[in-house]
């Protein structure tokens, strides 16, 4: 079966970003400079374990930078999107928007 341009676009969506929990994480990190683990967990509503799992995936892909630091003698995990992460999120949004525009009303 030959692929239509639409299915090609759908297939081209970044699967790593497309997963809903990771999409939430990336969108929240995209609109800020950096945040700690607690803030991101509160904003996304994900549990610690779940957020940790998805952050691991994003870090592995080079989309998220994780930095361990102490704030007022309390350990905290700082998170920010890398340049590649920002580009991947922008690209994902562009592709998804284009794809949605091709769908019939």
């Amino acid at each position: 079966m030959s692929e239509t341009p639409e299915t090609e676009t759908l297939a081209d969506l970044d699967k790593l970003v497309h997963e809903p929990a990771r999409l939430m994480v990336m969108a929240h990190l995209y609109v800020i400079d950096e945040a700690d683990f607690t803030f991101l967990a509160n904003q996304t509503g994900l549990t610690g374990g779940n957020l940790s799992f998805h952050l691991g995936k994003l870090e592995q892909a080079g989309y998220v930078e994780v930095e361990k630091r102490f704030r007022d003698k309390i350990p905290c995990t700082l998170l920010r999107l890398t340049r590649a992460g920002r580009a991947a999120f922008r690209e994902y949004r562009t592709r998804l928007t284009r794809l949605l525009e091709t769908l019939p009303e």
Partner: protein
């Protein structure tokens, strides 16, 4: 916390400006600014009532300096740490400077009224005695209104309205210091309620999972 991702979450993700605004607003719901403004006003009014000028002058100034450390100690511990983008931080700094100058302006206007009372003629003095502390109440109302605009906190307009009512009650025999004390107490309670709600909504997380 509910871990389902529903359509409203995804809808919010489609508008990044809205998402940023929503994210910013969650950090502004701690009620600390209300609490400190209320306590400052209460200190001002109680200072006038008990004739303790130092309390009147120092309470608002001292409480204004406590906002940042309290925010770091309480709010950040609950909702977490975030650093917004440079344009957002610039807007926030501009708002805080406006608030700062509004506070300085209100204090200077208060000093000016006091100087007129102290050094003005008898007729001027009688007029001011007749007005009670109504001009102060109006200045407080103006300050609260400016604070509402600077902090993008529309509920501060409600506080400003309460201060206007305190000024309006002076001709009916209700001294403005009593009115301002009540307004201060109401703002303090509102701030306290907001803080409790915030702390319940964002309980401190003990465990930070490592990624």
């Amino acid at each position: 916390m509910d871990e389902r991702i529903d359509s409203s979450d995804l809808k919010r993700l489609s508008d990044l400006d809205e998402l940023e605004e929503h994210t910013y607003r969650t950090t502004q719901q701690d009620g600390l600014i209300d609490l400190l403004a209320g306590l400052g006003l209460l200190g001002f009014a109680v200072g006038v009532l008990l004739e303790l000028p130092m309390l009147t002058i120092l309470a608002p100034a001292l409480l204004a300096t406590m906002w940042k450390p309290l925010r770091d100690k309480i709010a950040t511990r609950h909702v977490g740490y975030v650093r917004f983008s440079e344009p957002r931080r610039k807007r926030e700094r501009r708002g805080l400077w406006t608030l700062h100058w509004a506070l300085v302006g209100t204090a200077l206007a208060g000093v000016a009224v006091w100087l007129v009372f102290d050094r003005g003629g008898d007729s001027m003095r009688e007029t001011l005695i007749g007005l009670g502390l109504a001009p102060f109440a109006l200045m407080v109302a103006l300050f609260l209104g400016v604070a509402g605009l600077a902090l993008r906190a529309p509920w501060f307009m409600g506080y400003a309205l309460l201060a206007v009512i305190a000024a309006a009650l002076v001709p009916f025999g209700v001294p403005a210091e009593y009115g301002l004390a009540v307004v201060g107490a109401v703002i303090t309670l509102a701030g306290f309620a907001r803080l409790i709600r915030f702390m319940r909504r964002y309980p401190p997380r003990q465990v930070e999972a490592s990624s």
